[in-house]
């Protein structure tokens, strides 16, 4: 009997060790090393609204122009004096086939090619409106989400098509985001939910908030969480699209919706400026930090400066260490500190560069460098402060 008991105990202990190991392993790799680009190293003042990766080059859209980073240094800041149609750069998309960079501004759309900007405005082209919030490349087509609807440019023919509430199933014309999948284009509409365009069969599928009320979420996973959708991202690995709203995060896998609020997840804030996704990761750019969801394990990681509340005040505050909050599926949280920090908690967008990430914030641009597993382990044990 004693032997049996001893064997049971050892078996259980072993299982526990394995389980804890699995649980630990479920924490996504962390970003504890940040390199920041601010006014101190050549960035214009104001927010960084957008960021795009173009091989080794990084493009960033700011309140005062388009910034090019090469070899870790700010190479150039393009402004309206250089030909940009607007100072505020909301969106950047790189056409990897042609090398062209498409820039969405508050002033029109622009194509940067061969060192020149070619501008498209409401008066000179088929751009639906000069307020451009998002740009995406779909083969030979360039899609632009504008305040007056979505415009699609055929770069072969130069022909434009406008999609708005006059010719498409939009509740409102106001475009806010666009993402491209292999067979579909996903449109985010302000006050109109998500509308999916089937490229091959040319039909539309709208998704709206099923409870029909701005002021409530009736059921947790009822459908799209809110009708005001600020951004959209498509994940080819999981074949899911993700909608960022100012009322939480929504993902759709083709059958079920997966909705997240701060009250039931590790999401830092329900106010999501942008969403991006790769592999099992979903990244929500919120005003209280950058939140990553590991969808497979339902584990959340949020990055922000440890002194983030002080950054939002009128007093000048020096950026200190970073704060990383890990939220487990059972709701338990663990906070660790990193020696360097993302530059600000107010996150406007982000982009992937291999394993690294680039994050557009209200305080500048941050480059998150993925650390090795060994470094991560050392760092966690050293900085653990629960």
């Amino acid at each position: 009997m004693k032997r049996l008991l001893c064997a049971s105990f050892l078996l259980t202990a072993g299982l526990l060790v394995v389980a804890i190991g699995v649980a630990e392993a479920q924490t996504p790799p962390l970003y504890t090393k940040w390199v920041n680009y601010t006014t101190a190293n050549g960035f214009p003042e104001g927010e960084v609204f957008s960021v795009a990766v173009d091989g080794n080059r990084i493009w960033a859209g700011t309140t005062h122009g388009l910034v090019l980073i090469e070899d870790g240094r700010v190479r150039r800041v393009f402004t309206t004096a250089d030909g940009l149609p607007g100072q505020a750069v909301m969106a950047i998309a790189v056409d990897h086939q042609t090398g062209d960079v498409w820039v969405g501004t508050f002033g029109g759309l622009s194509r940067y090619s061969g060192g020149q900007f070619k501008n498209y405005t409401n008066l000179t082209s088929g751009l639906a409106n000069d307020l451009v919030y998002a740009v995406a490349i779909q083969g030979k087509y360039v899609w632009a989400a504008t305040a007056g609807g979505f415009s699609r440019l055929n770069t072969d023919t130069g022909n434009w098509t406008i999609f708005n509430n006059q010719n498409s199933p939009f509740l409102e014309p106001w475009g806010y985001g666009v993402a491209v999948g292999p067979k579909k284009v996903y449109l985010a509409l302000w006050g109109g939910g998500v509308v999916v365009y089937d490229i091959e069969h040319h039909y539309w599928r709208p998704y709206t908030d099923p409870d029909g009320s701005m002021e409530i979420v009736l059921y947790r996973n009822e459908g799209l969480i809110h009708i005001i959708v600020s951004s959209i991202a498509y994940n080819p690995a999981t074949k899911m699209f993700w909608a960022g709203t100012y009322f939480g995060l929504s993902g759709y896998d083709g059958r079920n919706w997966h909705n997240y609020l701060t009250k039931d997840s590790g999401l830092a804030s329900n106010f999501i400026n942008a969403v991006q996704t790769r592999g099992n990761e979903v990244w929500a750019c919120t005003q209280k930090g950058l939140s990553e969801l590991d969808f497979k394990t339902n584990t959340w990681v949020t990055y922000r400066p440890a002194n983030w509340r002080a950054l939002d005040t009128a007093r000048p505050v020096k950026l200190g260490r970073g704060e990383i909050i890990i939220t487990r599926p059972d709701g338990s949280k663990r906070t660790i500190e990193s020696p360097t920090s993302i530059v600000h908690n107010y996150i406007l967008n982000m982009a992937f560069q291999g394993k690294d990430i680039w994050v557009a914030t209200a305080g500048g641009l941050s480059h998150g460098i993925r650390q090795s597993d060994k470094e991560e382990k050392n760092n966690e044990s050293a900085s653990n402060r629960h």
Partner: protein, 473 residues
Amino acid sequence: MKIRTLVVVLFCLMATPVWSQAPSSAPAQEKPQEKMRYANMPPSAVPYGRFRKPYYNWYLDPSTLEYDGAARSIPEPALNTLKTINIGFLGPLDQAPTPYKVYGGSWNAPPTAPSSLLAEGNPNSLYGIHMLHGTELAIDNANAQGGYKGKPFSLKVYDDAPLWGNASMAIVDMYYKQHVWAMVGGINSASTHIALRVTLKLQVPIIDTATTDPTVTETRIPWLIHNYPDDRQQGYALADYVFNQRKLHRVGLLRENSHYGRMGFEEFFNSARRLGHQPVVAVKYIRGAKDFSEQLRTLKGFGIDGLVLWGNAPDAALILKQMRAMGMNQPVFGSSRIAYPSVIKIAGSAANGLFALSAINPDRNNPEWLAFRRQYLDRYHEEPDAYAAYAYDGTNMLIAAIRKAGLNRALIMDALRDYEMKRYQGVSGTAFFDYTLNNIAPMTFAEVRDGHFVYWPEQRTDWKNGDPLNAMR
């Protein structure tokens, strides 16, 4: 016994998973929310209120409009580098003849011509010009009191043209070219929504004194405060009055085919449906139409016992005349843009018995209102309307915020955000701002009696003193 206990403990340990079973499986951690009905909605109008408690309620706590960005840390400019303290204005003014030459830059000499003579183009410019006059009066009064630390406030006026592709760039222009500290406007809900989205990025406070679109304050964008009574409040007030107080059952709806008409219609329709009185018929008309016989025949055919009308005063006047001429004597209840003297002027005796909501009570003896009215009359030779009064109040709130916060847009917005769950006493009446910074104060009813409007305050049947669910308790 000990062995058994140990086995049980081991079994329990083995049975307890320490990893997740599936995404989205985390237990909901209920955050206690304040016991309050959003926007003072009647209990019967709560969506799904009879069936289910929502998983989450928005707009009921101070986090509704929180702002965690970097704009508070932007240093103030040196005052001696500024000639004026610029405030933007966006409203429908187009086709107004000179001296109302409105252009992208600063707007010059204040005109004195009555708005009725100026508003010949865009019909909404009738309201826009009143709004501009109210704003201008507040600016001039503030400048007479020293402006901001000796620097005068200056209005930068932008026309909200019907082609809003043009107007959509107004706030961008205001920010980059005029360096405004805040914006007053607008009336058109589409333009306001567009400006709102821009200001989330550029971070310019907006005091909206004119749109009736309730969704403008339901976006959680923390850069806008709104003081004009919206369609949600109007819908609740009318539905309660029509069904609970007047006890009508077969109500028809006639509304303008526009965004304004649609939003108002939806709010009233939803309230009516939840009260158990779904309107029996709803028809539309084109703004500026002259012949409403087709719509009226449809309404008559449904045997309605009352008509709710959502539109503008000139059209409402013609509808009233044609209704009465067809022998339709049902009571008519109108939205706030119908409670204008022009409805009586055009409809004549057919206007008698019209009930309409009003955003102000111009007959009250409040000293601030009387002083404003006198100043307005002296300057513009006409009565101020609700758009003028709310613009005057909103601009005064904005000026006070700038004086309190200094020249930092985020701090100015913080000062405006201080109005959350508080009252503001202005010439338009007493406003009360909820967590969305929307004014949800009770409205005023107006009835045409013997060719004149008679006003009385809204009193909903569900309002009880000390009601803990009432936001204004």
